[in-house]
Amino acid sequence: MELLILPLVFALISYFIPSKGVKYFGIIASLAIFAVTIGHLMNFDTKEYVSIFDPKTNLPFGLTFKLGYDSLSFILVLLVNSVVPLILLANFNKELAANKSFTALVFFMQMGLLGVFLAQDGMLFYIFWEITLIPIFLILYWFGEQNNNSVLLKFFIYTLLGSLGMLLSIIVLGISASSFDFVDMAIYGVIAPAKIACWVACGFLLAFAIKIPLFPFHTWQPSTYTTAPMAGTMLLSALMLKMALYGMIKWMIPLSFTGIPTIKWLVITLGLIGVVYGAVIAVKQTDIKKLFAYASISHVGLIAAGIMIYSTTAIEVAIIQMINHSIVAIGLFLAADIIESRTKTRELYALGGIAKLAPNFGFWFAALTFVSISVPFTAGFFGEFLLIKELFTAHWFAGFAAATTLVLGAVYMLRAYQLSMFGAPKLESFEDLKWNEILVFAILLAIAILIGLFPQCVIDFVKPSIEAIQELTAHDLKIIK
């Protein structure tokens, strides 16, 4: 339970810390949460389900308020709790780091995210899902670019609308199963009539498609990513959209299992259109942040399409790729912010020759660029290789569409890197990396390489829970037949 309470407590405490110390407090507190997570990890057997909150009394409407984790939930908890310190660290030398409300909101956000991943109750899942919207909205509103109200409003209404679809689905399932417990709902999901299940799946899909975002629900994303402060963009891309991908694996597919075959290829098609669409648009973008935003659409489209294949392999690999996407997102948006804050521009054609002025930045940005185009020895190499393989096995054309990301990804990433970093310097000076920035890049690269060398660790870790979820659906189907 301390996993959930600690961030909340830290969020409150940060209001009582003097402004000078707030950034140190942020780092230390987030590391403390990380340490607690590691403590959990030490005592964790991947085959188990660990309950951290279970009132066990009969609540009205079949609510259970169960919280707990299996290995799938836990790897995302681990992701959240390692990414938050990184985001704070990346932000460490900026003005924003000394802001109390900002630090509090980040912890509040962390609490919401953890809740989403820990919830074993449909209604609770929905509540935490919506809670995360509050801090991120405030972060974007208070600390984002000026005059971004219309962008924010669009983001807010868009995601809220999506969540309504999910709420309806959860209510339908909860009432039909007369319980909001995940297991009960899943058991109902298997026997649900295909027609209802299909509507339920669509309800979930609306929420997830907007959050991921899938083509054509992505229009809020580029403008939100560009006007948000760096930490906000990182939270959105590295963590928030993982809620949706996780939701697909854990909630949408098992709970509406009989309806999935109907929408499977629709989602895969949308995902793959996103892969090509995002990449093609990124090819000619001149705003570096926007370019990365469209690249992100391309990357997550691939993950979403892979998840819909719903083979054990595809999901295991999708999780590797989710982690990889977090690494890439933080790294690239940090790089974009470094460029923006030091040159006051995001226009690629106004940049150039930075590698010569700031060799350290040149190196680390290059390293992250290579991670993002999935070179060998990085996590993305296996992620992309195996996701494309699963798609290819399902249908060769799906594999082909997915494989365009290999080529187009290289096109837009190398273009972005070369236009900004290579050639003759157009600026007089460019301040090289600060220690905290180097540290963030180094940690990201280290994780990418570790997973790139030993992807089996991640696969073995999540395997039991994915098999358990799949058994839940497969097993019951047999009984009915």
Partner: protein
């Protein structure tokens, strides 16, 4: 020391070299850094030699499973057999010489430590590529060499004048390679789905099993697999249609061109086909495609090389053309012959590139042959070695290129006389452009102006020693695979060596021509080589004919000089449309339609709100009015309904 440990040491050495030079290179002194990098590769070469001596059977080394799922696994496995050891010898041997050369060539460069780190990383990736025992490790190395190639082509990225140009060339190479990689990726997927494994030996065993049990082979799948493999090979080995990156890749420092774009990486495609020979033998249609693509590439590239004025571009197109010849050999099923040409080509093309590097070094970075001339006396060692390289590539009798080309021609004659005839055209063109290059650079008068002339100097020992060693190899390399007419007992050593212990390489047979025909072919080839040499001597050295300026070229020369406008065509067909589509769908679809569409929906809701809002005006009279109007309306509705419909 066991073979396993030796093999792992061999692979690890360049990696260690990369890590040390990459991390500490900046702090260490230049000499230490370059020595560490060079020693790492040299030690790897020694290991390879030891393995070569020990090797008498195929040996597998299992390192670890990278990933394993229920239905398949990807493992880091390596294998020692004659093919992989032979490639290793070329890579580390030529690699060592080029490292040595780079010490002199790059000594004054500020980023020299980075350069050597990349070179080491390249050697490591290349070793993974050839030593892996499955397609997965091969793919790993395949991608790795692509990245190193990218890094090294764009090495001088911050150059004031050429920085952007260099990095664009690097990007082009990487992207075109990536297109090929997609082919390899698909081949891998299909192999996994058809055979359930990526191990060479495993696939070969499965095929044998199917053959023995009498079940029909999945020939369609195998054809598709081989075509995808060949697509990959066209990317790495610069064949039509993916060859235009290689000439641009000459933007990289010259040692890089010698190592990556002549001797080793570009032959990876040939290695891939040889390694998969048991698959290609089952797909005759693919072999025909390879044959014709190879032939077309070799002709087109040779044609373009005729009127290039950049010394490195001539050599680059020559490389493309020679690679085409190797693919012709592969298309005929003459796998050992192709590898033999890979070997001799590695010697003489590395020699020529390094020689050109030495020339460029002497010329203070001038690469235009129109500004050179009469360098023979000024840089004698470079001149002599370059001459040997030219003679070897043109097929001058008894030099290495003579034997390896002769083998290809002999096989072509066995296949069909027409093929032989077309190949002879390519071979003739090779001799013409190479002697043109040689005479224009080393003979006649110096055309670069007095100031440049005073700077010309022979390169130092680290640069000339590799030249000399490579020259010796270029002369005697042919001994490896002497044709039967010379010493019958020792002839075709190389073919037999490869035949003896290569895993999965069970389809290779050595064909022999009758000795009378064989002699006839040799005479024909020698006549052409010598004839052209004399013609070129008279033309360029005696009569002092010079390379024309761009404006003086006539129609065919212009076509050759402009590379058949292929870059422009590709630009028009692929690059421009992609950019256009990108812009169009961004402005018209993403922003105009989708983004504004969402706003429009929001706006619609707002508008309906505005309209309905007006009703809540707060005036009692207004409400009364609407109420009365509604009542009247309702009554009229019912009256009409009863009157006309329900009656």
């Amino acid at each position: 020391m066991g073979q396993n440990i030796l093999l792992l040491t061999l692979i690890a050495l360049p990696l260690v070299g990369f890590i040390i030079t990459g991390i500490f290179g900046k702090k260490l002194s230049k000499l230490v850094t370059v020595s560490i990098a060079t020693l790492a590769v040299f030690s790897a070469f020694v290991c390879a030699l030891m393995l070569f001596n020990m090797n008498n059977k195929v040996q597998y080394v299992h390192l670890f499973n990278v990933v394993h799922f229920e239905d398949f696994k990807l493992s880091a496995n390596f294998q020692i057999d004659s093919l992989s050891i032979w490639m290793t010898l070329i890579i580390t041997g030529v690699g060592t010489l080029i490292h040595l050369f780079s010490i002199g060539y790059m000594y004054h460069d500020k980023g020299i430590f980075k350069f050597f780190a990349y070179l080491n990383l390249f050697i490591f990736s290349m070793l993974l590529l050839v030593l892996g025992s499955n397609y997965f490790v091969l793919f790993f190395g395949w991608e790795g060499v692509g990245i190193c190639s990218y890094l090294l082509i764009g090495f001088h990225y911050s150059d004031e004048e050429k920085g952007i140009e260099n990095s664009v060339a690097a990007r082009k190479a990487f992207i075109m390679n990536r297109i090929g990689d997609v082919g390899l990726l698909f081949a891998l997927f299909m192999l996994l789905n058809t055979f359930g494994t990526l191990e060479y030996a495993g696939i070969a065993a499965k095929i044998n099993e199917l053959k023995l049990s009498g079940t029909s082979l999945p020939l369609v799948a195998i054809s598709a697999i081989t075509i995808c493999l060949f697509v990959a090979a066209t990317g790495k080995s610069a064949q039509i249609p993916l060859f235009t990156w290689l000439p641009d890749a000459m933007a990289g420092p010259t040692p890089v061109s010698a190592l990556i774009h002549a001797a080793t990486m570009v032959t990876a495609g040939i290695y891939l086909v040889v390694r998969s020979n048991f698959l290609f033998e089952l797909a005759p249609a693919t072999k025909d495609i390879i044959l014709y693509i190879g032939l077309a590439t070799s002709l087109i590239a040779a044609f373009i090389a005729m009127r290039q004025s950049d010394i490195k571009k001539v050599l680059a197109y020559s490389t493309v053309s020679q690679l085409g010849l190797m693919f012709v050999a592969l298309g005929m099923g003459a796998y050992t012959v192709a590898l033999f040409h890979v070997t001799t080509h590695a010697f003489f093309k590395a020699l020529l590139f390094l020689g050109s590097g030495s020339v460029i070094h002497a010329m203070s970075d001038e690469q235009d042959i129109r500004k050179m001339g009469g360098l023979a006396k000024k840089i004698p060692i470079t001149h002599l070695t370059f001459l040997i390289g030219t003679l070897a590539i043109s097929g001058f009798p008894l030099l290495s290129g003579f034997y390896s080309k002769d083998e290809i021609l002999a096989h072509a004659l066995m296949e069909s006389p027409v093929l032989y005839g077309v190949l002879m055209i390519a071979v003739t063109l090779t001799a013409i452009y190479m002697f043109r290059l040689y005479f224009l650079v080393f003979h006649g008068k110096f055309r670069g102006g007095n100031e440049l002339e005073s700077h010309i100097h022979e390169s130092g020992a680290t640069m000339t020693i590799p030249l000399i060693v490579l020259a010796i190899l270029s002369v005697f390399g042919g001994i490896l695979n002497l044709p039967g007419i010379f010493f019958h007992d020792y002839a075709h050593w190389f073919s037999h060596y490869l035949e003896s212990t290569t895993a999965g390489l069970n389809e290779i047979e050595t064909h022999h021509l009758e000795s009378s025909k064989s002699i006839m072919l040799m005479v024909a080839a020698s006549t052409i080589a010598i004839g052209i040499m004399i013609w070129a001597y008279i033309n360029y050295a005696k009569n002092g004919k010079l390379a024309k300026e761009d404006s003086e070229l006539n129609a065919w020369e212009k076509l050759s000089n402009k590379k058949l406008y292929i870059d422009e065509i590709y630009n028009f067909l692929f690059v421009k449309p992609l950019e256009l589509i990108s812009k169009l769908i961004y402005t018209y679809f993403d922003v105009l339609l989708l983004k504004n569409g969402v706003f429009a929906i929001a706006g619609l809701i707002e508008k309906t709100g505005n309209i309905t809002r007006k009703w809540q005006s707060g005036f009692l009279s207004s409400y009364l009015f609407w109420m009365l109007l509604s009542i009247v309306g309702l009554i009229t509705y019912y009256v009409i309904k009863i009157q006309f419909w329900n009656y």
